[in-house]
Symmetry: C2
Subunit: 342 residues, 2 copies
Amino acid sequence: MAATQASGSQTTGHQLSGHVIDALQYSNWTRRHFEDWRAGGMTAVGVTIAYHERARDTLTRLGEWNWRLRENADLIRPIRRGGDLDAARDEGRIGVLLGAQNCSPIDDDVGLVQVMNDAGLKVMQLTYNNLSLIGAGCAELDDPGISRFGREVISEMNRVGMVIDMSHSAERTTLEAIELSSRPVAVTHANPRFFHDTPRNKSTDVLRALGESGGMFGFSLYPPHLADGAQTTLDTFTAMVARTAEIAGTGNIGIGSDLCQGWDGRTIDYMRNGRWRLVPQAERERFAATPWPDQPAWFQRSADMPKLADALRERGFSAADVDGIMGGNWARYLRDALEPTG
Amino acid sequence: MAATQASGSQTTGHQLSGHVIDALQYSNWTRRHFEDWRAGGMTAVGVTIAYHERARDTLTRLGEWNWRLRENADLIRPIRRGGDLDAARDEGRIGVLLGAQNCSPIDDDVGLVQVMNDAGLKVMQLTYNNLSLIGAGCAELDDPGISRFGREVISEMNRVGMVIDMSHSAERTTLEAIELSSRPVAVTHANPRFFHDTPRNKSTDVLRALGESGGMFGFSLYPPHLADGAQTTLDTFTAMVARTAEIAGTGNIGIGSDLCQGWDGRTIDYMRNGRWRLVPQAERERFAATPWPDQPAWFQRSADMPKLADALRERGFSAADVDGIMGGNWARYLRDALEPTG
């Protein structure tokens, strides 16, 4: 992987946003994780509350987060509208953006887009890895693009200000969502296929379409999305960032680490298998016995966020660009994306 | 029934609220009903969205109301916070307050109080006619008072600003709720037992406790709650209002008509029987063939609201008291009750 020199704007004296945002984490939450967010200087974090949960179970997940937000209100606060991002930063608390990695929270009911949005679900993937009622996930056998229901859901998500997240979706479904959505969509957590060629990562066509439409792409630090797994160097990583910036635009990229802490392999079993296949007991036990993949040495936890900023500066990105990639770009995107239009 | 002379304050020049509020209606909604609200000069209406619906079905009911509110946005708007009441009045639109006549919308999950409140459910009865997870309804065999879960739910409803409605609850459950709640509770739609002695109406003890605690009592115009059914005269009705004012306070009473339009007897079957008993087919057919009870001639529809105001003036209530009973009292109560405390 050749190291590309960053070609971002070299603005100095430019007003920095002061935002440090990670668009996706999913941990077995304790207060320690929120303290770690603070140690990383973070201003907002997107958290996953549902993978396969349908509407009813999503309500319980929302209730659990409401309580967690109250119990840790000195450290964290909810992000529901665009203005909440800067409010969180100014209060010195970390904003929490609740999201789902599937459209299962709305069941088959387009009216639930607004209901879930009102209840606090602000980001939703249109698919996880499999076929959903909306389109195809990246592990699916075929990809029919966006369904009739999906077009209605996209229109409602656009209206209420719920972020459309295509991280796990298949190619055609992803490109059609970008095309059909009247507002820019996001890929909260993935990497480019040119960096690591797996269906879960995104093609150059997707990167380009995202950038041209004003969307956002969040770089993942989850080892299976990286070129050399946990052995991937920070230098290789920032070279990939620089090349992506050339394709999607320096203003359209950010971090979506996919950092998962405090779980064992049973959670991967749940994420991968949900209830859609019958898992042989031997395989289930193998999942349970398998530890979570190791993180790269340079990104073990949220407190390591400043190391990414340092490495981006070393790569040649300007202070303004580093500020944008570390959080300013997500803040600018979300400030608009979370506002209802009708 | 002796006609009691109203003893309300005779203030003139007092600032009138301009509110005309009906705390409870349940119709087979069409735009015609909202036009009728306007014809009645109404500023806000409480509508029932659930009788036996558990959490999942409540979401669909919320979605249906969200869409109805959008389709008729020239006439109606949602009431979610205290300030929305005056905003609706000032915009010339009728505010809609969504409520449930049961605690079924939260299932067995205290976290769903906030989730449902955030999603737009702003009023909830702790019981319908039967035993709930919280307490006993007025038709139940015995009344254990408020349960352990109920105490948690009351505390959460107090916190988030969801109105506690005891209209259908049994005596002990109702009195305990008034006592346990840190904020005044409401009986949105009932009449005093001294007017018509049925378990569904409220004892003088309840009227007194409600008034002393700053709660609200909404008078029903549903024939089974009236002294002489549809034959009840407006004069008898306002005499009852005057006597209730002496017990509960002129500032603690309002209208909660329980007006139900566009239904046939199958809806009464659903309301009474839900899924808790097996209804013999012959009884089911009898329900289906029975028309909805006739309304009194002087309260056929929402457009008849001014007739109530006229009759209250004739009864001797001052302009300020009539304004309060017709809507000002509900407005003052709800302005506070709908605001979260934590």
